[in-house]
Symmetry: C2
């Protein structure tokens, strides 16, 4: 046995939602190999004293754009189109792979610090994103978000389209890397940023290559309504007609889904990724998660990018999900604490096609584990561990993050990321490159 | 000069919302005595290196029930009446002063850890609450929440009513303690938990004794509507008729205020205390803060008690306030980051009648200051300090909390509270007393 967590409270997230107090959890060869109320006979190489601590499966962030940490807080409190067109897009145009890698490493450090052990990312410069993921030890499903702004009457040559070539190269180089720690996924960025020529081709490619699909779906009312005007179908319906959901797919946001959409996506096994903080911050609306779950959909959680959140703390997202469901339904019993905790673990694993691999503390599963310190004033007394995790705790309470039995973050230290050099790279290369033409002095400076 | 913060970013919250980078803030005799871009000539007794740090006024939590930390997470996800009648009230009946003091000290430790330097509390056993506040060094306006369930046809003898006697004793002993660090306030718990006999008497007493007034107002729709059926007036209107707002008053929640209520409360100088997290968690609704501010009301922020939040992190409350306003109005430009930051500082100080004393970094004001570490991954890069504080930061980022120039919390250490003995007192006395008849083994235990 490599590592033993002793006398710890284990929130297993297994089918019966077992929570074991004062128990022992052992890790061998990166897998969970021991779970008992009594200590193991064999002597472990390393013992971590779990008194006052809570052990749970690492959280899974199913929709984010890791490199956007570079734009965190750069343009808040604007309307969506001003935010995108006047601020975000012009800056993103100045990105290159080197800047993206630095920003991605910064975001991965944040993920690990907040107890996230696996992410589903959608962006550009995916080779550099994959390099950062590979170095850091975190798990990731990496999607190359693809748009197509040509007229749909024009023929579309998949092989000749650069983003599709990049996806193919990405798949060849990274899909299945390190025993599946990295998975490459296809991505129709959104219905409103492409047309059926891309949908058909990418849907077919993903199915043939056994790649998952990651899309933005019905995030804003205008996007949802324009699609209905244009096609007489909802975004979910039109993408489904064009093979986008023929493969395993996840749909981010799903704020404006209609009952028929929910039934359709449930039938097609499409997972929704709920991003309550981003949806509120951009005033996109509040997804009806309670209805999606009732309709039989698998619902996971995501933070969206740092520019629209503005952090990657999935604990904050869990609390927001529970509060928003209660607020939307007017029912305080709606979405009890267990629900968002499942969304951030087992449902996230399902959305990532990793349900056999992680999302629970269960013998044989990868040791993707996080430990929280429950001895801080805001976590005492502890009447109910689940309530405490969702309503009182924060990603800041995570003191250890482990992926496949390897500790990647512990007590303020990042064991696979040289944060100082990342910060230097951001300051000396990424920031000047992306913001050089921007005013040097931050707007509040008045002294 | 006692303490100098050097090369620090100072978010002053002054009238012009100045943010100074790489500046120097000096503290002498508990007051802010120096603020400049250049270092002072005189040598300070102590220098705190502020590189990478942000200094701002301590946050002010204008509505809480400190002792309720004892009930944190005890009964979540129930409907309001089940939560109150079957869980909260029966436990509160078992409280005594000793249990209340321990729970209050725990909550104050949490406040200090999260950067709160002043609170407005409403509860019972206020002498013990005042003792805890006195020992801890935090500032507090302490209100003895008073209910009256007799029929309003019955005469009411203020002098003979025990809660009113307690209020008088509390005022004699604690009002103005330590140069006004403690202020005692009167409190009509709520319109629905009392009648005009109490309102008239308490309103007159508060006015004569120059005490502030702290009430719950229009928290739930049913409370608001029943009042209108009973009196033909809204809670705000009926309490106003009966002198409750003749003195300086704060009204917690204000979820169901009508436009006339807002105009009335603005005219009477009553501050609203917005508690977005509690209001969502109990599905009470979402207060229309944008409209209140437009109507000219002073709006502060509160966490409510730990049992309905479930923490006292006012940074979380600031973000929730901004997100809820955007969600409610459908306008992402609604309540920009500066607004909740003002609610948690200058507006809170006004609600506490401490606006001449704290809420800003300004020469002559009390040195109620907090320092945040802005070198963590989730706070880099920093394009906009204000956005970062509201949308990306957390109370966990606070590394120092100072009240009147005295450091009460720094880097995990509580300098005025012996947390270990508080935890022992909770485990050995408070918990057994309040929960003895309760099942010993937490419900999730199944091993």
């Amino acid at each position: 046995m490599d590592t033993l967590f002793s006398h710890i409270t284990a929130v297993t997230m297994d089918e019966a939602m077992h929570v074991y107090f004062d128990c022992f959890v052992g890790v061998t060869d990166g897998k969970i190999a021991y779970l008992s109320k009594t200590p193991p006979k064999e002597k472990p190489r390393k013992i971590i004293n779990g008194e006052g601590m809570v052990l749970m499966p690492g959280l899974i962030n199913c929709h984010t754009h890791l490199p956007m940490s570079l734009l965190r807080g750069y343009a808040d409190d604007y309307d969506l189109s001003t935010w995108l067109n006047d601020y975000i897009f012009p800056r993103e145009d100045r990105l290159d792979g080197r800047a993206v890698k630095a920003a991605t490493l910064l975001s991965i450090a944040e993920c690990l610090r907040f107890g996230v052990t696996s992410v589903s990312d959608m962006y550009n410069f995916c080779d550099e994103i994959a390099q950062a993921v590979a170095e850091s030890g975190i798990k990731a499903n990496i999607a190359r978000g693809i748009t197509l702004f040509t007229d749909e009457s024009e023929d579309f040559d998949f092989e000749a389209y650069l983003p599709c070539q990049e996806l193919q190269a990405l798949k060849e180089k990274w899909d299945g890397y390190d025993g599946g720690r990295i998975r490459v996924e296809a991505s129709v960025h959104g219905e409103y940023t492409s047309n059926y020529r891309l949908w058909d081709a990418l849907g077919e490619y993903a199915l043939n290559e056994h790649l998952g699909m990651h899309v933005h779906l019905s995030e804003t009312r205008s996007e949802h309504e324009s699609c209905k005007e244009k096609y007489g179908l909802t975004p979910a319906q039109v993408l489904d007609c064009h093979h986008v959901f023929d493969t395993h797919a996840i749909a981010a946001h799903c704020v404006w889904l209609e009952p028929e959409d929910m039934a359709l996506l449930a039938k097609r096994g499409v997972s929704a990724v709920h991003c309550p903080v981003s949806n509120l911050k951009l005033a996109s609306g509040c997804a009806d998660v309670t209805a999606m779950i009732k309709a039989g959909m698998n619902v996971a959680l995501g933070t969206d990018g740092s520019a629209s959140n503005n952090n990657l703390d999935l604990f904050e997202e869990m609390k927001a999900a529970a509060l928003m469901a209660k607020g939307k339904t007017g029912d305080p019993t709606a979405m009890p604490a267990t629900a968002p905790l499942m969304m951030a673990t087992v449902c996230g694993a399902r959305a990532q096609r990793r349900e056999k691999e992680c999302g629970m503390i269960k013998l044989g599963m990868d040791a993707d584990l996080i430990m929280l310190d429950f001895t801080s004033p805001h976590l005492m007394p502890c009447h109910n561990v689940i309530s405490q995790l969702v309503y009182a705790a924060s990603g800041h309470d995570v003191i250890m993050t482990m992926v496949r039995g390897k500790i990647l973050y512990a007590a303020g230290k990042y064991l696979t990321i040289d944060l100082d050099s990342v910060v230097r790279e951001l300051a000396q290369y990424a920031m000047p490159r992306v913001f050089t033409d921007d005013k040097k002095v931050p707007e509040q400076e008045q002294a």
